[in-house]
């Protein structure tokens, strides 16, 4: 147990963070290089003003047309993404680990709130899975990659939740949690989750094209 836990919180954690950070940076640089070579016209259209205008408008729930026409999805996806990022970042247990390892200390959210947010993420994942099965539109375009991305995200929350409540076997669960969390981090640059890295730019480009060329909104 000790050896396993030390391994997953030691070398494996370094590897996961390394893959996540360096991998994301590398993907961004590679994509930028490709754009410089092949999409010069698109780069020429890029504008800070129109990009931010589009991003801000899409960050407001029920503001963009897409959000208004898909209300259930809007609620689910905003709850999901906010909790997805806020929970692990401000979780007491995680901040404790940063503190012990690097002396980094910052604000935390109470465990009870984090627990609720974890349940929200799990519920949103179930909702996403449900619509992939039940809605013909979504079902028709769902691929194994999408299930894979969903599973990778669900796993650390489910195991984190079980570990927190010390359900089943804690010693196994905590190792499983750390491993699934690390899998998620390492998967971000190379799976569907790479939208975390690229979505800002695709949105920014569309905002720039619609704003600068068509003089129209894109939300």
């Amino acid at each position: 147990m000790n050896a396993a836990y030390q391994f997953v919180t030691g070398p494996l954690a370094w590897a996961a963070w390394g893959i996540f950070l360096l991998g994301s940076a590398w993907r961004l640089v590679a994509m930028y290089r490709l754009a410089r070579k092949k999409d010069a016209s698109a780069i020429a259209y890029m504008s800070w003003g129109y990009s931010l205008r589009s991003i801000v408008n899409w960050l407001i729930p029920f503001n963009a047309l897409g959000w208004r026409k898909n209300p259930a999805m809007t609620i689910a996806t905003f709850a999901f993404h906010v909790c997805l990022i806020a929970t692990p970042v401000f979780l007491v247990a995680h901040v404790m680990l940063w503190d012990q390892a690097f002396g980094v200390r910052y604000a935390t959210i109470p465990d009870a709130a984090a627990d609720g947010m974890t349940m929200l993420v799990i519920a949103a994942c179930l909702f996403f899975a449900g619509r992939r099965l039940a809605m013909p539109d979504v079902r028709a375009i769902t691929t194994p990659k999408d299930w894979f991305a969903l599973a990778i995200v669900l796993a650390p929350f489910l195991t984190g939740f079980l570990a927190y409540h010390q359900a089943i076997d804690y010693d196994t669960m905590i190792v499983l949690h750390v491993v699934t969390g690390e899998i998620m981090l390492a998967a971000i640059p190379f799976t569907r989750l790479s939208h975390m890295v690229f979505a800002v730019f695709t949105r920014a480009y569309m905002g720039s094209e619609f704003g600068g060329v068509r003089h129209a909104r894109d939300w």
Binding site: N2, V92, M96, D99, D111, Y170, I174
Partner: protein, 125 residues
Amino acid sequence: MKRSLPILLAVALVAALSQAALSQENIKSLAPEAFGKLTRPPARFNHDQHNEKAGLTDCVVCHHGGSDGKIDRSASTEGTPCAECHKVKPAGRSTGLMNAYHKQCIGCHKARGKGPLACGQCHKR
């Protein structure tokens, strides 16, 4: 009279019992009052059992002295509550109370490859 490591909290408990004596028989968990309302269940810790298992006879291994974030193992401090030196909100380079426990316990467990490391292994529900 084998005391060592975990005395930390024990001491606080003892203080709570109107400073009856410094013999910490029956210390079962560590939950110093200084923390106020606890975030997690108290860490399970049976002082005597622990030290027997760990083969600890020298109190100063845990009950160390020191200042400014530096441990001094020449001055034994058994009998002094941890919270006396390690403040909940530490000032300057000194170690906070929570890190004092976490780092001392987990650090030793890591070094020896034995003993709990993850939250729930001490903070049992």
